[in-house]
């Protein structure tokens, strides 16, 4: 499909920084999207959350940009900006008026090359407090807030890079020091460990000149090798009940699947859609509509560089049993894998996926981020059409073959009102 095939330029600077340029002049705006090949999978075992804390520190100033100025420069010029940390990567992005592109590159290059000169005990202490509050707000003080921490703890053993949550454990967050931050910076924040996408309204030649001007003088240090992870299967099913400040009980059933862009993931995505993607999703239909056991049910496939899993989660209506919900989920999985999905279910799911690919091209930030995403995992930024074709190639049999993941040990994680502690 033509609109999913982007004309882009990709090259590398001598210091190893990968650069991807994509021109779109429909509005006078540009997006700078910079991915560093480092996520929480690189956190030291006793310093979980360090990659995420580092992301915060990148906004605290660099040699030529004072604390607060990074945000101020961008926002005072009508830009928007943010960053995020996942298991595998940390990304930084700005959407700016196109005449501001040079300033955005000046800012990004300054913190890539000259971050440590501005690192102080004061800025570190401040951001430790901020991250502590982020953890309190989004995890500890939220109903079901510990879901992912508990799940990853059960799903991956301690030596696995996905064992701890990206935000980090609270006692680790409070323990970071300047050396942790500077060691992390010296190892991972270097040009050869990053890829820069510039998308939007600019001239290719002048963008190349600007990238050369601001980034070519930054030296790279030692190459970062991929982690050597032995992804093991779950040998036995594990379960945990968390007593939480919640009124409604919730269950997560999770099976290990495949790493990102594995050929079976496209069938697993379609499976999740057929199970819970809409009112017609099989589990939604049974659990929410017909039997009225659950308030909501959802299923999804998640994959990263070092592992993947398939999760089905349901929140029980008051007085309804999680055991009953679990039983029905397993019965429906058996039914689906025995009798297979219908042709109509497959077409419906593919139609939705195709439409969403098109809708997804609306926003320049999303396009830029996808270019980096595809480049990071596959080495090819323009993979939109190809990825869609992989979904279109999924057949009923490929969904049925996913049964092999569900015949294995799994995680049963439940959240139950704390008033029930000692009674369950």
């Amino acid at each position: 499909m033509k609109i999913l095939s982007l004309d882009y330029k990709k090259y590398s600077l001598q210091n190893g920084l990968e650069v991807i340029l994509y021109q779109d002049k429909s509005l006078p705006i540009a997006v700078v999207n910079l991915w560093y090949n480092v996520g929480s999978s690189r956190d030291p075992m006793n310093k979980t959350g360090l990659a995420h804390l580092f992301e915060h520190m990148m906004f605290q100033g660099s040699k030529h940009v004072k604390k607060g100025e990074h945000f101020k420069f961008i926002q005072d010029n009508g830009g928007t900006l943010n960053a995020s940390t996942s298991f595998d990567v940390t990304n930084y992005f700005e959407k700016i008026p196109s005449d501001f592109l040079e300033t955005a590159l000046w800012l990004e290059s300054d913190r890539m090359g000259f971050f440590l000169e501005a690192l102080t005990d004061e800025t570190l202490a401040n951001q430790i407090e901020v991250v502590k509050n982020e953890r309190l707000e989004r995890y500890d003080n939220q109903p079901y807030g510990l879901t992912w921490q508990k799940l990853f703890g059960l799903l991956y053993n301690e030596s696995h890079p996905y064992h701890a949550p990206t935000i980090g454990l609270m006692d680790h967050i409070l323990s970071y020091n300047q050396k942790d931050v500077s060691d992390f910076c010296n190892t991972y924040y270097q040009p050869r460990n990053a890829s820069l996408v510039i998308a939007g309204d600019f001239e290719i030649d002048s963008a190349k000149d600007l990238v050369e001007k601001y980034f070519s003088g930054i030296n790279s240090s030692a190459k970062v090798d991929p982690l050597n992870v032995e992804e093991s299967e779950l040998h036995e099913s594990k379960s945990e009940v968390v007593f939480d400040s919640v009124s409604l009980e919730k269950i997560l059933l999770v099976w290990k699947t495949e790493k990102i862009f594995h050929e079976n993931n496209f069938a697993l995505d379609i499976l999740s859609d057929i199970l819970t993607g809409s009112k017609n999703g099989r589990l939604h239909n049974i659990l929410v509509l017909k039997q009225e056991l659950a308030l909501q049910v959802s299923a999804f496939q998640y994959s990263g560089s070092y592992g993947g899993f398939f999760c089905i989660t349901a929140t029980a209506k008051p007085g309804k049993s999680l055991d009953e919900i679990k039983k029905i989920i397993f019965e429906e999985l058996t039914n689906l894998f025995t009798n297979n999905i219908t042709i109509e279910e497959l077409i419906r799911s593919k139609n939705g996926i195709k439409a969403n690919f098109i809708y997804g091209m609306q926003s320049l930030d999303s396009v830029a981020n996808h270019l980096n995403h595809y480049n990071f995992y596959l080495g090819e930024p323009n993979y939109f059409s190809h990825e869609l074709s992989l979904y279109e190639k999924v057949e009923r049999e490929s969904v049925k073959n996913c049964a092999k993941y569900f015949n294995k040990p799994f995680i049963d994680l439940r959240f139950v009102p704390k008033e029930k502690e000692g009674k369950v």
């Binding site: 006078p28 707000e137 003080n141 098109i358």
Partner: protein
């Protein structure tokens, strides 16, 4: 390596040029007003039908009715069951979302252009022939009751809900909570839903907005064919007035195990069309509208009390409010409230020329990026529609922002951030703040439970 001078930021040599998209007004055969922007970048359509009805029209003792009607209206229609209807949308790759707020009900469709006509036939069934079966009603009502139970665990939702109830007052329905009160929802019947539909859902109180790749003539024809002339009634809209409560009021909900306190501070304010909208927008950008605004910079970047704090003006048709929102570590609750009040007063006394220029530049230079996605275009049209603004609003937006002076911004703060009408809501561990509350000289102090009902009067 160091030959490049990085000490000074690059100069902007050329100002980016932006041309506003053209807005077309389309009137359907029956007189329904629509606003349209054609954008051909992608072969898609974002279409929203807007009906002037919402939870302010829930009768006494029937709160939650508008919401339940919005939920049930597509649970079977035009001879198709809920699942059949949903299946047809999905087979087209289209989506429909039906939502409700205080004053409007929205039917939002996203569709590929080639499927838009077929998608509208489904919308037509929903608008004209909803089934409202008893089975669906009982199921969806019980889900709403479960949601009402669930939100009692969410400190942020509790704080938001109580703030709005207290700002607008119980006697006024502008403070109604979408989902309704538990005791009311339990008593709602399917007949209530049918009555609400019959009295509220009609094209004479509807309009539409659309951003899409199709041409305006086609859109008009499709609207006339599928969406025009639905519903039976010619009911007049209720006008709602709110009388300001001239008291400083403090409400709190005790959550003994909370590690953070949710903080809401604000007051009733004017409606959007009142004169100082642009001055308020600029002033709030300096105060709390973005990351490097005064309040976030102090509470987060200087003191580390919070993950974030922001302030805003929210507008209903007849009144609006000013609100500061944050969530802070429990032991810093009082200091965070003190700091916030300090900043709410300081903004009335002092704004520097640099701050004013930075805020104006920020708003003006962000303006083009509000017109990027089909969703954003539709959101812009929605603003024009619901506040009844002239199509020239966007043409004049930048010059209106540019003309705001320091005095305008100071006056906007003085006239809209009202110390003697301030409402503070805290949800957290009261042991961390209750003994120091006296220093703020509130006229009323009240402890509430998670539902917003009084626990004890202090």
């Amino acid at each position: 390596m160091m030959t490049l001078d990085r000490t000074t930021p690059p100069q902007i040599v050329e100002q980016a040029k932006f041309h506003l998209p053209e807005i077309e007004e389309i009137i359907s055969d029956s007189g329904m007003k629509g606003l349209f922007i054609q954008k051909t970048k992608l072969p898609m359509v974002q279409f929203t039908l807007i009906i002037s009805t919402g939870c302010v029209l829930d009768d006494e003792g029937k709160s939650g009715l508008a919401n339940l009607t919005a939920i049930l209206i597509d649970e079977g229609a035009g001879g198709l069951t809920a699942l059949e209807l949903n299946n047809q949308f999905e087979m087209l790759g289209s989506s429909i979302q039906i939502s409700i707020n205080h004053e409007f009900m929205y039917f939002t469709i996203v569709s590929l252009e080639e499927k838009f006509s077929e998608t509208l036939t489904l919308l037509s069934k929903i608008l004209n022939q909803p089934h409202f079966e008893e089975t669906e009603f009982l199921r969806e009502r019980s889900k709403v009751l479960a949601q009402l139970l669930q939100i009692k665990d969410e400190p942020d939702t509790i704080a938001d809900k109580i703030f709005e109830e207290k700002i607008f007052g119980f006697e006024n329905k502008l403070g109604n909570f979408n989902l309704g009160k538990e005791e009311d929802v339990q008593k709602l019947t399917n007949e209530d839903v049918r009555n609400f539909y019959n009295s509220q859902i009609s094209s004479d109180r509807a309009g539409f907005i659309c951003a899409g790749s199709l041409d305006p003539k086609t859109l008009k024809n499709l609207v006339n064919q599928f969406v025009d002339n639905f519903g039976k009634t010619k009911t007049s809209e209720t006008q709602l007035f709110v009388h300001p409560n001239k008291k400083r009021r403090f409400y709190f909900v005790h959550k003994p195990e909370a590690q953070q306190t949710e903080i809401r501070i604000g007051n009733l304010s004017d409606k959007r069309s009142d004169g100082d909208f642009y001055a308020k927008t600029v002033m709030n950008t300096i105060l709390g509208g973005q990351f490097n605004s005064r309040i976030n910079f102090k509470l987060r970047e200087t003191k580390g009390f919070t993950y974030g704090a922001n302030s805003l003006f929210s507008y209903r048709k007849e009144r609006g409010y000013f609100l500061l929102t944050t969530s802070v570590q429990s032991e810093h609750t009082i200091e965070a409230v003190q700091d916030t009040f300090y900043e709410l007063n300081r903004i009335k006394e002092s704004i520097t020329a640099d701050e004013l220029e930075a805020a104006k530049l920020s708003i003006i230079r962000r303006f083009p990026s509000n017109f990027e996605t089909y969703y954003q275009l539709a959101a812009g049209l929605n603003t024009l529609y619901i506040y009844d603004l002239q199509p020239s609003y966007f043409d004049e937006y930048i010059s209106n922002i540019r003309s705001v002076t320091i005095d305008d911004a100071l006056n906007a703060a003085k006239n809209n951030i009202l110390d003697d009408e301030t409402v503070v809501v805290l949800v957290g561990n009261k042991e961390q703040f209750i003994n120091q509350i006296n220093e703020f000289n509130f006229d009323e102090v009240e402890e509430l439970n998670e539902s917003g009902n009084p626990v004890i009067a202090l």
